[in-house]
């Protein structure tokens, strides 16, 4: 159908870019989620007043374009602090915090969705805070939070297209590199878009399915 000069080599090159996209996403989502859970539980536990500074800081990550966060973090760490660090590390660091900022909200929402009465019942049975948290709150909150969390993870994958700004060659950047050489913008962009779509769409559908299944009972 397409008359293209794309070679196997180029496909490998694209696959490397795609791999980079997935690696950056995986690392960021992993650390972001851990941080997000810590922040979310903390925020819920200490109440809005004491958590205000943390809330403010996390809110910044949700109020400033990711592109600017990346540029700023890179400039700050490397230029202002003078630390030699790779763009990859900066990208993962920023994206992790970015993920954590959203994840904390999801976690807090999940915990708040667990009825107080249920938790009181658990505590009245003699469970400790930790037991209540792990055996009552966590399973129930996960049900509420997981679909949003899946959405977040996919969002981070799509947003990772911006890490080109710190010299990380991910999927969209490697596509652009190939466009430069092969001059087949439409075809190559289709491949690139299709890749994102093929990963994102089924997982998004799965999230939607979970949401539906769990909200029905």
């Amino acid at each position: 159908m397409f008359d293209t000069s794309l070679t196997a080599n180029d496909l490998i090159f694209l696959a490397q870019g795609a791999g980079m996209t997935l690696v950056v996403t995986a690392i960021s989502v992993f650390f972001g989620t851990i941080l997000g859970i810590v922040f979310g539980v903390f925020r819920y536990q200490v109440g809005p007043w004491w958590a205000a500074p943390l809330t403010f800081v996390l809110d910044i990550f949700r109020s400033i374009p990711l592109l600017i966060q990346l540029v700023l973090a890179n400039a700050f760490v490397t230029t202002v602090l003078g630390i030699r660090i790779s763009g990859f590390a900066v990208a993962c660091g920023v994206l992790s915090l970015y993920t954590a900022a959203y994840c904390a909200e999801i976690v807090r929402g999940g915990i708040e969705a667990v009825p107080q009465t249920l938790r009181r019942a658990a505590r009245s049975l003699g469970m400790t805070w930790g037991q209540d948290m792990t055996s009552i709150v966590m399973p129930l909150a996960t049900r509420v939070a997981l679909p949003s969390w899946i959405g977040l993870a996919l969002g981070v994958m799509k947003d990772s297209a911006l890490v080109y700004i710190v010299q990380v060659v991910e999927l969209l950047k490697s596509t652009q590199i190939l466009i430069t050489r092969l001059q087949e913008p439409l075809f190559l962009l289709m491949i690139c878009g299709l890749f994102y779509f093929l990963i994102s769409f089924p997982i998004a559908r799965f999230g939607g399915y979970l949401e539906k299944r769990w909200s029905n009972d």
């Binding site: 760490v77 490397t78 230029t79 602090l81 660091g93 652009q176 590199i177 050489r181 092969l182 001059q183």
Partner: protein
């Protein structure tokens, strides 16, 4: 983040407390790698081959410098607008990226003596009536953001008071836009223009005229305070010309004929 910051602060303070610091030249030799920012959508100076390996005049130039230093070169691709931030942020040691030696930039980065000189051409799409560079007046024109020619062209559009200027993120997008008809004309180096017209990758474009700029001398850059390295680069450029390597690279990447004269009549550098 917070702990990193804290640690970083302590480290920075500790570093400042030490009496003498090794400079970048020492660092490079010690680390064994020379990290060069190269723009790879700028043939023949920088591009990629069929295996997507970086090639071009600037790539060879970086390799030569690394060899001279006795280290290996690492090519870091940057876009034009990103090359100086990449340098400032320490992602690279130097940029071999056809950087024009403007006085504005010299406030921020340290320039070597020129290692190449470009002339710029006006490239238009075929449907457009254009005989001289002045016909760009009132047209939609574009160039690569942050380049010498972009700054010149944007200035011209402001001066003319009509038409529109569009800064794209890279050279490829400029030619793509031109080829698609989104732009009426662009200004690019003669080398790049000829390479792009010849490649056939961008149908429907033609070289119209030379752009009336003084030759665009480009230099290697590094951090402003790295005198040792700048001094080394100056001598290296001189050696490249002296040994004939400069002419050799010119022949390899640009073509027949004499490479551009890197001296300016009547003044020392």
């Amino acid at each position: 983040m917070k702990t990193t910051l804290f640690t970083a602060g302590v480290l920075a303070a500790a570093a400042l407390a030490l009496p003498a610091q090794a400079d970048k030249l020492d660092d490079i030799i010690a680390s064994g790698t020379l990290r060069c920012a190269v723009v790879l959508d700028f043939p023949p100076m920088g591009s990629r081959d069929a295996n997507n390996t970086p090639i071009g005049f600037d790539v060879d130039y970086c390799n030569d410098l690394a060899t001279a230093l006795g280290v290996t070169a690492e090519i870091v691709e940057t876009t034009f607008p990103e090359r100086i931030p990449a340098l400032m942020s320490g992602s690279v040691d130097i940029a071999v990226a056809s950087t024009s030696d403007t006085l504005e930039r010299a406030k921020t980065v340290g320039f070597s003596i020129p290692y190449y000189a470009f002339e710029n051409a006006v490239v238009a799409r075929e449907g457009i009536e254009m005989a001289t560079w002045e016909d760009m007046k009132g047209k939609v024109v574009g160039a690569t953001a942050g380049t010498y020619e972009a700054i010149w062209l944007e200035g011209k559009v402001k001066e003319w008071g009509e038409g529109e200027f569009r800064p794209y993120q890279n050279q490829a997008d400029v030619f793509l836009a031109l080829s698609q008809g989104q732009l009426d004309a662009t200004v690019a180096t003669v080398e790049v223009s000829e390479a792009n017209v010849k490649s056939g990758n961008f149908p429907g474009i033609k070289i119209v005229d030379k752009a009336p700029m003084v030759p665009d001398y480009v230099a290697l850059i590094t951090l402003r305070e790295e005198y040792g390295l700048i001094n080394y680069m100056n001598l290296f450029i001189n050696q490249q010309v002296r040994t004939g390597r400069y002419a050799e690279l010119y022949k390899k990447w640009v073509g027949e004929g004499a490479p551009a004269d890197l001296t300016v009549q009547g003044v020392y550098r």
